[in-house]
Assembly symmetry: C2
Homo-oligomer: 132 residues x 2
């Protein structure tokens, strides 16, 4: 470990047993990215999130929201109406993360053409060795 | 989709069929994060990467490097010595991404205490419903 890589916080994400490694693991999910990005401009209901995140199953959405709640990034509010209304919003910590994850989302959109091109090149060179 | 969320590049990571969504999918891996972060200060050999990334299996390291190569983020160089020496380095596109991913790694280290605390709280409140 070179000194430049040492965390000023005493945590080291390269170490599998470090708590920060498990944070990185939690963040390594496209649904975590997208739920956090979708919530960054304000609270949403379950159905609104489901519509925004094309292709997410109800089970996966619930699971993602539970993980984000457990980790203190999302807060759930239940309104005692009939039928009950449930809304989700980012906590302060979640807001803090949202800016970063949104940059990753932006990067993905901005560089999708470069990566498509690289994939096409790799497929050509490897005669179908790589799945696109 | 509200206008603020519209990508200026015509790509939309919220759409499952969009190329940028598959980029987000590729990035949603702790090993992709860590390999890209580890390479950001210069080229490394396979064994150097394996030592830096605690807990990565040889198979997972190879698989991660192949994906990054396929997507144009990492370049592999083979030196014709005996035994052959193989080195990996970030391409320009990979360097461009590395800054962002390193911020995520830093965030994980900086906020690991907050997230540990939230997890402990959730475990307490839910009487063991959540795995820490």
């Amino acid at each position: 470990m070179d000194s430049e890589d040492e965390s000023p916080f005493g945590y080291d994400a390269y170490r599998r047993t470090c708590a920060s490694h498990t944070v990185l693991e939690m963040l390594a999910s496209k649904w975590v990215y997208l739920v956090v990005c979708a919530l960054r401009k304000g609270r949403l209901r379950n159905g609104e999130l489901a519509r925004k995140l094309e292709g997410i199953t109800p089970k996966m959405l619930t699971q993602t929201l539970r993980v984000l709640e457990r980790d203190g990034l999302v807060r759930r509010e239940i309104f005692p109406v009939i039928p009950p209304r449930v809304e989700y919003e980012l906590t302060e910590l979640g807001q803090n993360l949202a800016g970063l994850l949104n940059q990753i989302r932006s990067w993905s959109e901005q560089h999708a053409p470069d990566i498509k091109e690289a994939r096409a090149r790799a497929t050509g060179e490897n005669e179908g060795d790589w799945a696109a």
